[in-house]
Symmetry: C2
Subunit: 349 residues, 2 copies
DNA sequence: TTGTAGGCGTTATCAT
DNA sequence: ATGATAACGCCTACAA
């Protein structure tokens, strides 16, 4: 790319216009792919653009269009790995463009959350917004985005909006598959450590568990269903409770890896070996899952792919390398990952 | 804050000027805290600003000032938790301002890295840049930032630049303290799994290890020093090697938690119990550290605080709530965290 | 199909 | 200390 050297002045649309012998507006038309230009002039203008290494100034465009050329990511810190992988996916998709990604954590427990978001949107006027769970489940945010006329996509464990505004995984199916694996190994007394009430992901994963049990004709013992908070300690506490009874479960599905790690600690403390005495499955495929001993069987959430798809969805027209993805695609598959934390129950070993 | 309702038109500097009976420029002066205004006019203007709920339009400012009101974070994905915690610290500090944080991962192995950064800076003209390790150690990036006249701060395990452009921790001291803890417990045969050559953090941590040994008058057996890559598996391999000998170490300091997790697996595979037969210390205080069994003693890297301080450093004048931090402060302390992975060596138990 | 004039909302220059 | 006028670099309306 030709670059100006010493002067350090970047060429403007005026320079291009002058050298191409056309008006600013014509250059503008070329830049914005307006159909109202002759092939000839377009070619001439593009040649000059290339020679100059001209790149439109985003600030000026922002002012004129009243729209900033970036995508915001709103989230209320689910786990770090999730946020970062998602960011990575988004950035991966937009890196060849001139878009930027700005991060905006919010506090879903603050009464000011909506006002904060509104203020941010008014101030910064982003091109588009991406919303990660759990706040993606908040319909008020989507309404706000629509009202402010900001393109958006909601990410979730299940479809949260119409297709053009959704990117989601099939947690339910994935959990069903994972639990079916447990059942196939011979387990019947399977416990569930579920996520906190009110989280869509928690509900979906619970459903998947129940469907797997039902499909196998196994009853769900309700005292084998314990609620956690998605934090390590809640998994520990839940497992203590589950393992304390006379007929403890031979397998546990924990709705995320962190709780599974907690459950693992609880088992170890009671001298219960995993997987010999207790099989364990988590969800997320966090780094922790593979760092544990035994390495944890889990479900990989396609979060990076979701980031890529979300970026594609909301910013397609600003991304150079076309429409390889069908816009109606919105669902990506979670995938069961088998590691060493599953074994047949004792009596079958 | 007074908000216009139906019209949805946000007030501009012109509205303020008209209602306050002054010129745009005067309003601008008030906004920018220019000393060239009477107390009286300033008060009058500020009153109108409040009543209108006027907020300057960042896009227009950006165009006029040729500078975008955001901070970029450049990084080449160290671990997710680090990046995210740093982001959190930065955002925490700037959240009451009108600044935004944009994330820009780069690939330090790409020959285009510098060009990419340069292009980004030219295009986006950020107010300031923050650079996370390991790329913060690359002097060429700092040069670029200076050349492009972008305020910046480099984050590291030791001072990487002059004080105004540095935020760093004292890895060496912290590791020294951690290893001294091992020595105090009675260990003499202590091994080091160090980080990859060329990383400043690796060098600092190694130094800390050596200083602790020297201070205790203990020799460093060079076959007890093995290099890893900061990844789990390299810790596993290193520990296999360390534990295979006739006189294996009774304690290992791994230069990060991930490698410590790998070492833990290796030990477990050989039937070596942690901490009874082998004490283990990591570095980072990652979530993994507390999820392992036994919970890993480690060093907490004050990464969030570093984010806060870095934001303060580069954007002080744009942040509303003043100068509570001394700008010359650049160092933050890492802290040893004692958990269950340390015990006296066998013969002292 | 192309160009002219004017606007987006702010800051800078240079008088007064 | 304040204000008129001109940038900043792009885009939209409207005219040609």
């Amino acid at each position: 790319m030709a670059q100006n050297t010493a002067s350090d002045k970047k060429p403007t649309i005026n320079d291009v216009a002058r050298l191409a012998n056309v008006s600013k507006k014509t250059v503008s038309r070329v830049l914005n792919k307006s159909p109202l230009t002759t092939e000839v002039t377009r070619a001439r203008v593009e040649k000059v653009i290339d020679e100059l290494g001209f790149v439109p100034n985003p600030q000026a465009r922002a002012l004129a269009l009243r729209r900033n050329f970036f995508i915001v990511l709103f989230h209320d810190n689910p786990n770090a790995q999730t946020v970062l992988n998602f960011q990575k996916g988004v950035l991966d998709r937009i890196k060849t463009s001139d878009l930027a990604l700005v991060v905006r954590p919010v506090d879903r427990h603050s009464p000011d959350m909506l006002d904060d978001i509104a203020h941010f949107l008014d101030q910064q006027r982003p091109l588009a917004a991406l919303v990660l769970p759990p706040i993606s489940e908040d319909d008020r945010i989507a309404e706000l985005l629509r009202a402010k006329n900001v393109e958006y996509a909601r990410i979730g464990s299940a479809q949260l909006d119409d297709l053009p505004h959704s990117v989601f995984s099939n947690d339910r199916e994935a959990v069903k598959a994972a639990c079916s694996e447990l059942i196939r190994a011979g387990h019947k007394a399977i416990a569930l450590i579920k996520g906190p009430a009110g989280f869509r992901s928690a509900a979906e994963r619970e459903q998947g568990f129940r469907e797997a049990m039902a499909a196998a004709g196994l009853p769900v013992e309700e005292h084998f269903v314990v609620e956690g908070t998605y934090r390590l300690n809640s998994g520990y506490v839940a497992a203590q409770k589950l393992l304390a009874g006379d007929n403890p479960p031979t397998a546990i599905f924990a709705s995320n890896d962190e709780m599974a790690a907690g459950a693992l600690h609880a088992a170890r403390e009671r001298g219960i070996n995993v997987p010999e005495d207790l099989s364990l499955v988590g969800f997320d495929d966090s780094p922790t899952a593979s760092h544990l001993w035994p390495p944890l069987s889990t479900v990989r959430w396609p979060i990076m792919e979701m980031g890529r798809m979300a970026a594609q969805k909301v910013a397609q027209r600003y991304l150079p390398d076309g429409t390889d993805t069908d816009l109606d695609d919105a669902q990506l598959s979670s995938e069961f990952i088998s590691r060493k934390s599953i074994a047949p129950p004792r009596h079958l070993q």
